[in-house]
Symmetry: C2
Subunit: 331 residues, 2 copies
């Protein structure tokens, strides 16, 4: 590989000049510039990003730690993040935490060691041991989707409260009184918040959720199936299931199919997070849809603002209810 020195020699100038030409600095003579560029071309020179980064303390790289790439919700986010980052000339390194705190922590450290210019994390749990390390190294941090209460770091997430209120009204309107909830883990903000918002909504409608109809899964398919099985085995089983995440929803649906329950006649089902295939199920699934693309994009823009020492823009995104057929016919 040709280095800058080679280019300099061939163009008959110093490396400083080559560097200046390549970085568009304080214009060298047009002819020097041309000579340098010709040499660059002839030698197929490509700058060594490592050397450059070492010198200028910036890698044009963003780190992304997500909880689970197999969760289509996070895959969409990852895609949006990569897309927005590329538009701004950044590359993204990613790590899959697998909903696992230790692995998440390892990854944060690895990415910091790689000198990423900024870090995007979808926290696996409320645990915030890793945050201090990020702060100690002065690396800008933006939290995605799940919030953990730690000063400073902006959080980009979609507020589901309004959509959940609508969902509650929808279900009650259809005559559902016993509503089973498959919630996320208690130690994630999204797990707690969605449940509380939904509970509040139902309470204010006069139909508080029966505590024995609330279960907690782990945002994975298996736990959704188990939860559905358990809920339907109760003495007075629910007439509708609300899964607070797409994978748990899928698991619940799996279980309903396995048990041969007809939807929505025997049991209804609503899922948090929309997916392209949800409308294709029989019946089409009623969902709370999150604006994943906007979330990923907004997160990157916030992070870049932090990196550039600006105030990150305030983003407020809302999830929205999409009524389809899986909770019963519309009135």
């Amino acid at each position: 590989m040709a280095t800058m020195k080679d280019v300099a020699r061939r163009a008959g100038v110093s490396t400083a000049t080559v560097s200046r030409v390549l970085n568009g600095h304080s214009a060298p003579t047009p002819e020097t510039r041309a000579r340098v560029l010709a040499a660059v071309d002839a030698l197929e020179y490509r700058p060594n990003v490592l050397a450059r980064s070492l010198r200028v303390h910036s890698t044009q790289t963003l780190g992304l730690v997500i909880s689970d790439l197999l969760n289509p919700f996070f895959a969409e986010i990852a895609r949006a993040v990569e897309d927005e980052a590329r538009k701004h000339g950044y590359v993204v390194i990613f790590g899959n935490a697998d909903e696992n705190v230790e692995q998440q922590e390892r990854y944060v450290r690895t990415l910091l060691d790689r000198r990423v210019d900024g870090l995007l994390v979808c926290p696996a749990t409320d645990d915030d041991g890793w945050v201090s390390e990020v702060n100690a190294r002065n690396v800008p941090l933006v939290l995605l989707d799940r919030r953990i209460d730690v000063g400073g770091a902006p959080v980009v997430h979609a507020d589901g409260a309004a959509a959940l209120r609508e969902l509650a009204a929808h279900l009650v309107g259809l005559g559902h009184r016993r509503i089973g909830v498959i919630s996320g883990p208690e130690d994630t903000s999204t797990g707690r918040e969605r449940l509380h918002a939904f509970n509040d909504a139902l309470r204010s409608l006069g139909y508080p959720v029966a505590p024995d109809l609330v279960t907690h899964g782990d945002f994975r398919r298996r736990s959704g199936a188990d939860a559905a099985s358990w809920l339907l085995g109760r003495p007075e089983p629910p007439t509708v299931l609300v899964a607070m995440d797409n994978l748990m929803g899928l698991g619940a649906l799996e279980e309903l199919r396995r048990l041969g329950r007809r939807i929505p006649d025997e049991v209804g089902l609503a899922i948090y997070d929309d997916q392209p295939w949800f409308p294709l199920f029989e019946p089409a699934i009623t969902v709370v849809a999150q604006p994943t693309e906007e979330m990923g994009g907004a997160a990157v823009r916030s992070l870049l603002a932090l990196i550039n020492g600006e105030e990150p823009e305030e983003v407020h995104l809302d999830a929205r209810l999409v009524v389809r057929a899986s909770c019963g016919e519309r009135l």
Copy 2:
């Protein structure tokens, strides 16, 4: 951030010694070692990976260029790649080519500039302009899923010929005679190979595919819907649709739902690639399943072998037919 020099000063040794301790080289005295480690601890020293990489010409980083992260097939691959890479102490940088040749080329270059130790590419098309650049820089390359005919680079993919033969027999056995095929692009190996394998199988059963029942999509949802629409609009429409990729299959299903066709009574449907939600459709979709996890893992292992100057292990993976209900009841 503390540097090696700081550690050296605090421990009262030279940077060379610190380096030796940290890399487990030709054993320094146990007490020097202890002093150094104590200093490392006290200063919370973390080595600068950039400086190290610059010096040793290795970044412990793998590049992954995939065609489309939103395609769950590729998301699974990405996850498997990341998983296997981590096990070997490598980190992965990824780029989303969006089934787009120019973007793929840009990404390959970007990743090379980042001095990845090896490159994993799922080629968007047969275009191989970018390969020469990879070779020119002596970076090991492994092709994933799609092959392009270029000397040297190992290809990890799953052979679907046998599964497609079984599928052909299954369909014919169910009485299907007019079989519509939604194939991938002609300029991808998987597009061509799947179609040819399926054609061959049907021909040898005595029921060659009618040329007017073959369409080509682009591995995206929309094209699957369009193709289904077109096929069903033929004068003599097919009795079953075979989509050669999960997204096109989803699109086809979408179109069938939109048109209100009953599956499998009016039209059957089979899809290449399995997904967790395919069994949950009504009826459950018959598929050709690929071993994505093994593919990702094998690709990384091949690449690491190349990086270490070894001969990459020969991997032979097969897709397999999973008969469910979407093509008609089993005989």
